[in-house]
């Protein structure tokens, strides 16, 4: 045996290891692939051996080969074998290989679940670490689901190294298994305050990644992050947090205001460039989000721009690059501040670094004005000539077009210049932006009427030189401009100097090498030109000319007829016949020019990109309705009903023939026809349509799309020089000379612009041409109408858009395996781990118990349906009524392994609820929580303003500074609460009627209803009862009304549920409601796991205008013998059209002793036994003069509101029975004598009894 081992070791020593492999590959440079093939064979042999060391070595070699591009997925199973080794060394090799080559599609991954789980719970920290590392690379949704709970456990590990990794990998888990997010989130949140900086940083990292995709769900963490930001000294964490704030501020402008100051302080104080840069970036984001010019923000902008200038001027190219990047963000909202640095940006255009030049280009876009446009474009053109590399040149070209065309040619004053520029751009070699230039040409020619003459002459020149453009046509995008040129020349042929010459250019045989769609346009426009020439001939009575041109077409058109492109061929055939026909007519001496002209009469407008989509669906047309029923069970269902023009499969008849359902289709035709007519009408009579009027006319700027013209696409490329094209340079001189003259005229009118004196004012530069903004759209549709189809539903991060503030529901927990064999391993296991295991075992037990309970619950549900009522069975409430129980059980479940963490963590202080925290910032100074203040003092160098006095004291032990604000708040609360009382009385009447209207919200069973029916069963109802509602007013203001009732269940003796109906009184949405109460010693609101007793509970719905909804909140109670009153606040946001307003509503919840009573049936015999037993030691009685003297009403009221149950009634006396949730029986004898009622009670607890009697007294004497 020993010998064998030694032998194995020796063999192993002689095996090739990675180093040998590398060396071998280096020595076989010529025959590398052959050598590697040999090695792979060797590896395959090694993998077949039993010895794990050999296998590990082989796998290690495979990992190296993988890097060189060899597929090693065939060895996946062997890799798993190595991963499962008990030796760390081999395990690590295995996991590395796995992390390099495993992925979603690796089928053997499903074998790994248990192995990885074992590794994760390994005693050896590094085993778990390595497993986490590997898992982070190949986690699949199955693995994520199965292992989420194990990773959660690791998050609470005592070793920071594992905690850190577990926290980080949670992000991957969430991505694969979004359901884990909510159960795990609060623990993740705790880790933000982990004592270990590494863990903290990991948690920040994960939350930042999550928040980047769905920022709104993480707004509530802002106070926590704010605290971290002001306390952390780890730049890495700071950067992440600051970046996160940058994502959050657009959602919550108040947050931005709060941030400005600490951020500017950081900008001033930090020496780390990376931090400085991120601070500036976030300040910019803040300033964008609160662009309403509050005066002192110009200072912040100036600070940013100034700091950025320093970055840009730095010799370090990296800083320069980033500076420009940040500058372009400012540009969007504060162009004036950036324009002051134009010199700097222009300078950067000359930088040798392409990245920097591109960034500078971006900036230029926002810097142009009417005055400097020509100058800037000129500079860009020069750059373009010099530029190497087509990428940068294309970028320049696109930028020129973009700069000029932005906001509807706002800055172009001279369109002749612009057309020349466009023509010059066609000389660009090998650009792929031919289409873009073409669409610009078309756009300008169509929309700027005054330029047509010039444009047509330029286009004619282009057509004349088309051979230069058309070379290598297929490869070069630039030939696309011929499309535009041909169209412009044809459409506006009246401007042509010599139509016949142009016609000849267009009929060159070379044209046939152009792409089909361009040829089609050629053919179409040849006819337009033809009609023009014929017209000319007829007017001048030049028969010779007509004959010539006829002959020309008859000769040349056939080359298009032979085209392989169908469209070209078809058009050419039509045109050819047309020409033949007209020449025949002309031979007879008939004048045809007018009729030819009318072929292409009328103006064309560009059709808006969205026009088709915006055509309204006519009433009565159901696009989804079948026109023909699809044949049942047909396999090609999908073809059916997809199109109007599908042939019906059975009869081969167009589906729009009259039969069956086709009524739906008819109105469409009518409507369409009407629409078409209306559109025509509109085009003709549109007052905005500029029909060749004066050149100087006020321009209309609007945001309409100018690239809307539909142009088909192609490619080609060639170097060329077009002779005779007017150079754009001459226009540069023009404005300067013109300007002088104009300035004197316009000087007085010049509007004053705030800000920099140095910035040029655009107003004094006169536009020379008007731009028409007409585009065709269906009637009644605006161009600016939002596109609703843009939503990208396939975004994987959408799944992670989960509300995290909602309390957990019952079903929301991580899947936990039910069978798990705890591996018994080596003796030297440290205490820590042992404890760990115990906990996990405990957890299992609890879990099982829970599932059992659940089973019971469902059984019970069935039983109760069939009419049985069994006292001792768990009630429905636990099984069905949602989240409160969910929270509770979840807390129990996790309580075990939590404790260890909680011990480590500083109590999460009082982070006030986000709304309050934020609203604090509106009050002038910066009320940062005092804890921050403390840490701030330690922190680098914070400006002194932050430590002002009216800081909110948030730490419990920090009694020294009790803020004014807080006491103010208290006063306010008092005031509102008294108001509430008054209101309450007023509203109570209304409340009573409410009961009937109240709708049961979906998914929430209302135990009160059940109770009601039960109690009514037992209550004699001879007389008609007044409508009763157990819902009492909780609070009301202008926007919200809350009514509540309490519910209890015998299953939980320590819990009461307050069910609140939120009623939206406004006509707006009310959202982000958060419910909070000040806990008393006895009664505490049950919040989500890990939340402190100051956190608010999010109300899990938003209220539609005028609607109501019910939310339930659970309270834990200790003693039930005393009535409880609790103060609370509801904060919410009313979202109206003008914006959203935050508001709050204070309230008091009354929990009288009677609310702990449960309607419990009791037989009169049992009742008598109970009274006689002597257990009921406490006695009390009270005499009341009730408002309502009807005895049955009194009994009904007692039964309904105080949850009693009638045992026996003899004339005007009755005995009632009830029981509290803590099993105190309460017996009541009600007697009525001459309008007064005497109540005698017996119970086991005196206080309870007297309190219940008080409740009864109040109930019966309440006049409202």
């Amino acid at each position: 045996m020993a010998l064998k081992k030694v032998k194995g070791t020796l063999e192993r020593a002689l095996d090739k290891n990675v180093q040998d492999l590398v060396r071998g590959i280096r020595n076989h440079k010529e025959t590398e692939s052959k050598y590697i093939a040999e090695c792979v064979d060797e590896i395959k042999q090694e993998l077949k051996q039993e010895n794990l060391a050999v296998k590990a070595n082989a796998v290690n070699k495979l990992t190296y080969l993988q890097m060189l591009g060899y597929d090693i997925s065939w060895a996946a199973f062997n890799i798993i074998e190595v991963m499962s080794s008990t030796k760390f060394t081999f395990k690590r090799v295995g996991y590395l290989a796995a992390s390099q080559c495993f992925h979603d599609g690796t089928d053997v991954l499903m074998l790994t679940t248990n192995m990885i789980r074992k590794d994760l719970s390994s005693q050896q920290m590094y085993d778990a670490g390595v497993a986490l590392n590997g898992l982070s690379c190949f986690i699949t949704s199955d693995l994520a689901r199965d292992l989420a709970n194990d990773i959660m456990t690791l998050m609470a590990s005592s070793r920071p190294h594992l905690r850190k990794k577990a926290v980080l990998i949670m992000y991957k888990v969430f991505l694969q298994f979004p359901e884990a997010l909510r159960p795990a989130f609060h623990r993740l949140k705790e880790k933000l305050e982990d004592p270990d900086p590494g863990v903290q940083s990991a948690a920040v990292n994960v939350i930042c990644e999550l928040a980047r995709k769905n920022p709104k769900n993480y707004l509530s963490l802002a106070p926590l992050f704010f605290k971290l930001m002001t306390s952390s000294t780890n730049n890495w964490v700071l950067i992440k947090i600051i970046k996160l704030f940058g994502a959050l501020t657009p959602l919550e402008p108040r947050l931005g205001k709060k941030l400005i100051e600490p951020l500017t302080n950081l900008i001033h104080s930090t020496s780390a460039m990376s931090l400085l840069y991120e601070c500036i970036n976030t300040v910019i984001a803040v300033l964008i989000s609160i662009s309403s010019g509050i005066p002192n923000h110009t200072a912040s902008i100036q600070l940013c721009v100034q700091k950025l200038r320093i970055l840009i001027e730095d010799s370090d190219q990296n800083l320069k690059y980033l500076g420009l990047l940040a500058m372009s963000k400012i540009l969007a909202t504060h162009p004036k501040s950036v324009q002051a640095h134009k010199d700097l940006v222009m300078q950067c255009l000359d930088d040798k670094d392409e990245s920097i030049r591109l960034r500078a280009l971006d900036l230029l876009y926002g810097m142009v004005s009417k005055k400097n446009l020509m100058e800037i474009v000129k500079k860009l053109m020069v750059h373009m000539d010099k530029a190497e590399g087509s990428h940068y040149r294309d970028e320049l070209l696109a930028k020129i077009v973009l700069i000029c065309s932005q906001s509807n040619y706002q800055y172009v004053t001279n369109f002749e210049w612009y057309v020349s520029i466009l023509v010059e751009l066609t000389r660009m070699e090998g650009t792929r932006h031919g289409k873009m230039i073409a669409s610009q040409m078309l756009d300008v020619a169509i929309r700027v009427q005054a330029i047509r003459h010039f444009a047509v002459s330029q286009m004619a020149i282009l057509l004349e030189n088309s051979h230069a453009l058309a070379n290598n046509s297929q490869r070069n995008g630039i030939c696309e401009v011929l499309y535009a040129a041909a169209w412009i020349c044809g459409e506006f042929s009246e401007h042509l100097q010599n139509p016949k010459a142009t016609l000849e250019y267009m009929l060159r045989p070379k044209i046939t090498t152009l792409p089909g769609h361009i040829q089609s346009v050629y053919v179409q426009n040849i006819i337009k030109l033809y009609s023009k020439v014929v017209m000319k001939g007829e007017v001048e009575e030049d028969a010779e000319l007509i004959k010539e041109v006829n002959q020309l077409l008859l000769d040349k058109l056939p080359i298009f007829v032979q085209s392989s492109d169908l469209e070209v061929q078809e058009r050419a055939c039509t045109m050819l016949q047309l020409v033949k026909y007209t020449s025949k007519l002309q031979d007879k001496g008939v004048k045809v020019a007018d009729e030819l002209e009318s072929l292409s009469a009328g103006d064309l407008n560009p059709v808006a990109l969205k026009a088709q989509r915006k055509v309204p669906v006519p009433e009565g047309l159901d696009l989804d309705a079948y026109i023909n029923r699809p044949p049942s069970d047909s396999s090609d269902d999908d073809i059916q009903g997809a199109s109007f023009f599908t042939m019906s499969t059975d009869e081969h008849r167009p589906t729009y023939q009259y039969e069956g359902d086709n009524k739906v289709y008819e109105p469409t035709e009518d409507e369409l026809e009407k629409l078409r007519e209306a559109r025509k009408f509109e085009v003709e009579h549109n007052p905005h349509y500029l029909k060749g009027e004066t050149k100087r006319k006020g321009k209309k700027y609007d945001a309409s799309n100018i690239d809307d013209i539909p142009v088909a696409r192609i490619d080609l490329s060639v170097p060329l020089h077009v002779p005779g094209v007017s150079p754009s340079d001459k226009y540069l001189m023009l404005p300067s000379s013109e300007r002088k003259g104009k300035k004197s005229k316009k000087g007085k009118k010049k509007r004053k612009k705030g800000g920099h004196g140095g910035t040029e004012s655009d107003e004094d530069v006169e536009a020379m041409h008007a731009v028409s903004t007409v585009v065709d759209m269906p009637e009644g549709v605006n161009l600016s109408d939002k596109d609703d189809n843009d939503d990208n539903l396939t975004d994987p991060f959408r799944k992670l858009d989960i509300n995290l503030d909602e309390p957990l529901r019952d079903d929301e927990k991580l899947p936990i395996r039910t069978h798990h064999i705890v591996p018994e391993s080596s003796q030297d296991r440290d205490l820590d781990a042992e404890e760990h295991k115990k906990k996990s075992k405990k957890k299992h037990k609890k879990d099982k118990e829970k599932t059992k309970k659940k089973d019971k619950g469902t059984k019970e549900r069935k039983r109760s349906k069939s009419g049985h009522k069994e006292k001792d069975q768990p009630s429905l409430l636990l099984a069905t009524s949602g989240m409160e129980n969910g929270v509770e059980t979840a807390v129990n479940e996790n309580a075990g392994d939590f404790k260890s963490v909680v011990d480590n963590i500083a109590p999460s202080d009082k982070i006030e609820d986000i709304e309050f925290w934020l609203s604090g910032s509106d009050a002038a100074a910066t009320p940062s929580p005092s804890k921050e203040e403390k840490t701030v003092e330690n922190h680098v160098s914070h400006s002194p303003e932050i430590t002002v006095n009216d800081v909110l004291s948030t730490e419990e032990d920090d009694n020294v500074k009790i803020s004014e604000e807080k006491s103010k708040k208290k006063k306010k609360e008092k005031r509102t609460s008294t108001k509430d009382k008054k209101l309450k009385k007023e509203k109570k009447k209304r409340e009573k009627e409410k009961r009937n209207e109240y709708e049961e919200p979906e998914g929430i069973t209302t135990p009160s209803k059940e109770n009601l029916s039960i109690s009514q069963l037992g209550t004699p109802m001879e007389t008609k009862l007044p409508p009763m509602s157990s819902y009492k007013l909780l609070g009301e203001n202008a926007s919200i009304k809350m009514t509540y009732e309490t519910r209890v269940t015998h299953q939980r003796s320590d819990q009461i549920i307050v069910s609140i109906i939120f009623n939206n009184l406004t006509s707006h949405h009310v959202k982000d409601m958060e419910f909070n109460v000040l806990d008393t010693l006895n009664t505490k609101l049950i919040r989500g796991m890990g939340q402190s007793h100051h956190d608010a509970v999010k109300v899990p719905f938003t209220l539609l205008p005028g609607s109501q909804n019910e939310g339930q909140f659970a309270f834990s109670i200790d003693s039930i013998t005393m009535p409880q009153r609790m103060r609370g606040t509801l904060t919410y946001i009313v979202k109206s059209d003008e914006g959203s307003t935050h508001d709050k509503l204070d309230f008091k919840i009354n929990l009288p002793c009677s609310s702990y009573l449960m309607t419990t049936p009791c037989k009169s015999a049992d009742f008598a036994t109970l009274l006689g037993s002597g257990d009921l030691s406490a006695k009390s009685s009270v005499n009341i003069t009730p408002v309502d003297t009807e005895f049955s009403h009194i009994i009904a009221k007692l039964c309904f509101f105080l949850h009693f149950r009638l045992v026996e009634q003899v004339e005007k006396s009755a005995s009632l029975y009830s029981k509290t949730i803590q099993d105190h029986p309460v017996c009541l004898l009600v007697k009525m004598n001459d309008g007064s009622v005497s109540l005698d009670g017996k119970s086991t607890d005196g206080t309870l009894l007297s309190n219940v009697l008080d409740d009864a007294k109040q109930l019966l004497t309440d006049t409202s």
Binding site: R23, M67, K172, A202, N205, N235, D316
Partner: protein
């Protein structure tokens, strides 16, 4: 998020590649080639950021790289990472390599790419930055090395002897990776 970390030499030979998102091997090679192509044609004194190639990422992604002697270290990251922060991270990575290999050079990376992976695993996990504190990273690596040695024990002695023999053939190692001072970001402390 970091999408990929690539190390290749001046000739584009991959020395280490780590993808935090799955790509088939041939695409990986293509990415390495493309990245090399993009990075290698840049001058020494231009900025260290590149708008990413077409294969990896897209508009949101950037290539952030550093060039040390014969090696390029390229990180492909999205916009949630701080550009300067990543530059620092590369520096931390290289300095850690330098400590672990005692004056690191390309040959170390060639022959011990697995170790490089293990070191990297302590810095970046699943595309997210795990740790930036170098002493912490070094402790973790040392502890793991110790563990490895323990496990190898006596059994590995012959293997080690053999590999020592093989090592002797290697021509003198070229220790040429020098870590230049980085004035712009030198102040960033972790």
């Amino acid at each position: 998020m970091i999408k990929a970390i690539l190390v290749f030499n001046n000739h584009g030979k991959p020395r280490m590649s780590r993808f935090y998102q799955y790509y088939p091997e041939d695409i990986q090679q293509q990415i390495v080639r493309e990245t090399f192509h993009l990075v290698s044609k840049r001058d020494e004194n231009v900025c260290n950021f590149l708008e990413g190639g077409t294969l990896i990422g897209g508009a949101d992604y950037k290539l952030i790289y550093r060039h040390y002697a014969t090696l390029y270290f390229v990180f492909c990251v999205d916009s949630s990472e701080s550009e300067l922060g990543i530059l620092d991270l590369i520096q931390v990575f290289v300095e850690t390599l330098d400590k672990c290999f005692e004056n690191v050079c390309e040959l170390d990376l060639i022959f011990h790419v697995d170790k490089v992976h293990y070191i990297l695993a302590e810095l970046v996990m699943g595309g997210m930055v795990l740790e930036t504190n170098m002493t912490e990273i070094l402790t973790r690596i040392e502890e793991q090395n110790k563990l490895e040695k323990q496990e190898a024990g006596i059994a590995a002695a012959p293997a080690r002897a053999v590999s020592a023999m093989k090592e002797m053939n290697i021509p003198q190692k070229i220790k040429d990776i020098k870590l230049p001072d980085l004035p712009s970001i030198g102040n960033l402390k972790f």
